[in-house]
């Protein structure tokens, strides 16, 4: 087990190094001169040159690369040309908002996708299965921004069931003292359940938007894996010897379907970390996605690099967690045996 974990961690470190290197060069291929964008209309050539000098844009590319790599590995992601703030600090300030949104969205997606997938597989060919597949198609083909707009319009603007898309809490409400950065958790830990409820109310619409769309791939994966598992020889044998239907469904079926499902959830969570820019923009959610959106508009290279590296590192960590959970779910993996498919 430890050897397995060590190997995964070594691969992860190599992946992070690769991300740091690749991101540096990709970001520099972006069109446009950040110094000119930063200088604004009242600038002149002198002012633009000053900005280039200040942010090191004039340095040879290898010098910039060296500064970038040494900076990243010492926690210095550089200075944002847009805000003049420390990129690492700014990302860390915004990360909890994105993580909280991602966590609850994936949770909702799992709560919808897993039971529906199991049910669809268990009742294959029935109207339940048909409805689940329609839901999956609908979720897969629905554009996030469109669903978000619809939900805002109907659930906030028309029906007033949820608060408007303005932030993580109502205007004037003090944020809970930071423990985890998740407002819902921090408020609960402080015993302020009113604040926790308010945080959930503001989370609701973006979480429903993302959860609905993300439930589709989970549902599809659970259904397909469950069908494979339920068609397997051991399930047939279990049925033949009279094992109960519930036991077959959850012990023989779902447990054996877990590996691909965990993979799907991991992919969905990873997508959420980097891909919720649109939802954060739409709901004025103060996370790293919105930060990246603003950075893209003005070629804020350091901020963009920082965003991609943070998301990349989180993705790598997530994969380590998934790999570990594989080992937990399937003893053959932690014992180093080959998995026959």
């Amino acid at each position: 087990m430890w050897r397995y974990l060590g190997k995964r961690l070594l691969i992860s470190v190599a992946t992070v190094v690769g991300i740091v290197v690749i991101v540096f060069f990709i970001v520099r291929v972006l069109p446009g001169d950040a110094a000119i964008a930063r200088a604004g209309p009242y600038a002149n050539e002198e002012k633009v040159a000053e900005i280039r000098d200040k942010y090191g844009f004039d340095d040879p590319i290898l010098v910039q690369f060296y500064n970038h790599v040494t900076g990243v590995f010492t926690g210095d992601f550089g200075t944002s040309i847009r805000t003049d703030g420390d990129v690492f600090d700014e990302l860390m300030d915004r990360l909890p908002a994105s993580l909280e949104l991602a966590f609850y969205s994936v949770l909702l997606a799992m709560l919808i996708g897993i039971p529906l997938g199991i049910l669809a597989a268990a009742r294959r060919g029935t109207w339940i299965d048909g409805s689940a597949r329609v839901f999956a198609i609908f979720g897969s083909s629905m554009a996030l921004f469109w669903l978000g707009l619809l939900l805002i319009y109907f659930l906030f603007f028309r029906l007033r069931w949820f608060p408007g898309p303005i932030d993580r809490l109502a205007i004037g409400t003090e944020a809970p003292q930071t423990i985890t950065g998740f407002y819902t958790v921090d408020a609960a830990l402080r015993g302020d359940f009113g604040l926790m409820f308010e945080a959930f109310r503001y989370l609701a619409l973006p979480v429903i938007t993302l959860g609905f769309v993300l439930a589709a791939p989970i549902l599809k994966m659970v259904r397909a894996s469950m069908i494979d598992a339920l068609d397997s020889h051991h399930v047939r044998t279990a049925k033949a010897i009279g094992v109960s239907g519930r036991s077959i469904l959850f012990r023989d079926g779902f447990r054996n379907a877990l590996l691909p499902v965990i993979t799907a959830i991991g992919i969905v969570f990873g997508y959420m970390l980097g891909g919720n820019i649109i939802v954060e923009f739409l709901f004025a959610w103060p996370g790293i996605g919105r930060y990246a959106y603003s950075a893209i508009q003005v070629n804020d290279l350091e901020a963009l690099q920082g965003f991609v590296i943070v998301v990349g590192v989180l993705y790598v960590l997530l994969n380590v967690v998934i790999d570990v959970s594989y080992a937990w779910v399937d003893p053959r993996i932690r014992l180093g045996k080959k998995v026959s498919t």
């Binding site: 972006l30 069109p31 446009g32 001169d33 950040a34 000119i36 964008a37 200088a39 604004g40 209309p41 009242y42 600038a43 002149n44 050539e45 002012k47 000053e50 847009r82 805000t83 003049d84 703030g85 700014e90 707009l149 805002i152 319009y153 906030f156 603007f157 007033r160 608060p163 408007g164 898309p165 303005i166 932030d167 109502a170 205007i171 004037g172 409400t173 003090e174 923009f281 739409l282 709901f283 004025a284 103060p286 919105r290 930060y291 959106y293 603003s294 893209i296 508009q297 003005v298 070629n299």
Partner: protein
């Protein structure tokens, strides 16, 4: 030596008193708007508005009608705040915040408009940081002497003195901010021109007679900075404390910053030490960043916010029908234009053909939904010194356009029109322009470019056609002409350079004689038209959407909302 103008804060005192009365009479006693900013101004049973006038203080007392609690005003402006440093800020949200925090020597006189909002005069100014001022013309320039208010303090209690105003001008000249580029317009280039006569008397001697001097003195970028506080924050690398002011305030205006989070929020609380604190009609202002314009509109319709700007024109007709909101409309002197790069389109007849083929009226109707006026030139139609005889030439005439193209001798004309990714209306305008140019035989490729890429290509002169917009601080025609069209200017995207034109602009910049200004401006406009440098597309109407109960919103030179007199009534 001619004495030009001397005035005091008397007129503003009367207006403030009237507004205080209106606010007191209209405010709800049970208005329980939120808790941030923390300051809640309890009115009690008696409110006093004290404003200092030239001949002494004017005190107005309103009995019994004062509100129990003033509302907090929530605004969602159109862009993201990245810094609140007063000499380097780059957004309208930051403009609004710095305007609330830093008090200049004088301000625009306000007049109430239909709907209860306040418009700043372009010609009449009254005392703010200065209780009185005197401007004298000399043979070579102007001498302005400002008498400050002895009772005036910063939000931390430090007194505001003439040294603080000298500091801000010196910081503008010598510091790394961009405000220094404004000072040549008023003939100030050295700290030697700034004199502290005594603790409360400050003098500026300019090297030119600038028609913009008074207007510039109203800009918050020249508002008092607490130099005692900032001296403590200065370092060798940052002697003017730019870093410190990036997220904090050190002003003497009606508000101070209590909370600033880049990209998200600025909370402003009333400055309890403000010399006219009682005139502040609300308990604070929250400026929120709501990036999506549709959501800003819905939030104000739903009553969750009070003020929204940057609402797309296509949404405005529906909002005007909504009884829950008010749409304030203010014609501007700003210009939206399509620049033609004379180095890439050297044939003047081709440029004339383009100028005549642009569908000006259709753009205003279909892209701006009527919320614009014809721009008709680099000096726009609502701008001082505009010459309608020249401006009328900017009209669609496809036959004339085709004739110009034939006269040019050029065939198979293919051009790129660059527009910014973030500007949907530019993209829509480009499509209409493309269609009209196609009709006369010019093939246009519309390139939607990331903003930074667009700026780089525009600066490098790589775009034959591009759409850009501009709004001049102080709304002066010569200021506008200098930045957009004089030789060598950073944002002269057409590459136009004409010695005679530049001379006319320079003449107009530094004369206060209106006849001369009209004359040289007209000549410059004619040269500009003859060379067909731009197709001036429209002059936008600035719109601000507020809740139906919001009153007292101020709109001055910048047309960015200010909030000192803004409150909410319950009888609307």
């Amino acid at each position: 030596m001619t004495k030009r103008r001397a005035w005091s804060g008397g007129r503003v005192a009367a207006l403030l008193a009237a507004l205080a009365l209106i606010a007191a009479a209209c405010s709800s006693s049970d208005d329980t708007t939120t808790t941030t900013p923390p300051t809640t101004a309890a009115g009690g049973t008696e409110a006093t508005t004290t404003t200092a006038g030239g001949g002494g203080d004017t005190t107005t007392t309103t009995a019994a009608a004062a509100p129990a609690e003033k509302p907090v005003i929530v605004a969602a402006l159109s862009d993201t705040v990245t810094t609140v440093e007063p000499h380097t800020f780059r957004s309208t949200s930051a403009y609004a915040a710095t305007h609330a925090v830093y008090e200049p020597l004088i301000v625009q006189e306000l007049s109430e408009q239909e709907g209860g909002w306040l418009l700043g005069s372009r010609t009449s100014h009254v005392g703010a940081g200065a209780e009185s001022a005197e401007i004298e013309l000399t043979d070579t320039g102007m001498i302005a002497t400002f008498t400050l208010r002895p009772e005036d303090t910063f939000d931390n209690g430090n007194p505001v003195t003439a040294e603080d105003y000298k500091y801000v001008f010196q910081r503008s000249i010598e510091g790394p901010g961009y405000i220094g580029v404004l000072l040549p317009f008023i003939g100030v280039s050295s700290a030697d021109q700034l004199t502290v006569i005594d603790e409360y008397t400050f003098q500026i001697e300019t090297s030119v007679q600038s028609p913009l001097f008074e207007r510039f003195m109203t800009f918050q970028v020249f508002g008092a900075l607490d130099q005692v506080l900032l001296a403590d924050q200065a370092t060798d690398e940052d002697p003017w404390s730019f870093e410190y002011l990036g997220d904090k305030s050190a002003g003497s205006g009606p508000y101070y910053i209590t909370n600033y989070n880049p990209d998200t929020v600025i909370d402003l609380a009333p400055n309890p030490n403000y010399w006219d604190a009682e005139s502040v009609a609300n308990a604070g202002v929250v400026i929120r960043t709501v990036p999506d314009a549709n959501q800003r509109a819905q939030l104000v319709q739903a009553g969750e916010i009070d003020v929204a700007t940057g609402i797309p024109e296509r949404l405005l007709p529906a909002l005007e029908e909504d009884p829950n909101v008010k749409v304030l409309k203010i014609p501007t002197t700003g210009v939206q234009y399509m620049a033609m790069n004379i180095n890439l389109i050297p044939n003047v007849d081709v440029r004339r053909a383009i100028l005549k083929a642009v569908p000006y009226d259709a753009l205003i109707d279909q892209v701006m939904f009527g919320y614009a006026a014809p721009a008709q030139g680099v000096v726009t139609s609502s701008m001082e010194t505009f010459d309608p005889a020249v401006g009328s030439g900017y009209a669609t005439d496809l036959d004339a356009a085709a004739q110009f193209l034939a006269d040019s001798g050029e065939t198979d004309v293919k051009l790129v029109l660059g527009v910014r990714e973030s500007r949907l209306i530019d993209q829509e305008a480009a499509v209409l322009i493309q269609e009209n140019l196609r009709q006369i035989g010019i093939d246009v490729e519309v390139q939607v470019l990331p903003d930074a890429d667009w700026a780089t290509k525009a600066s490098a002169g790589e775009l034959p056609l591009l759409i850009h917009d501009w709004f001049s601080w102080g709304e002066d025609p010569f200021y506008q002409m200098q930045f957009l069209t004089q030789c060598g200017s950073f944002v002269n995207y057409s590459g136009f350079c004409d010695e005679a034109y530049d001379e006319l602009v320079d003449t107009g910049k530094f004369t206060i004689d209106q006849t001369t200004r009209d004359d040289v401006s007209s000549q410059a406009q004619q040269i500009f038209f003859d060379n067909a440098i731009w197709a001036p597309l429209w002059s936008a109407t600035r719109t601000v959407v507020t809740g139906k109960c919001v009153t007292g919103l101020e709109l001055g030179y910048s047309l960015v909302p200010s909030f000192r007199f803004t409150t909410k009534t319950d009888d609307c």
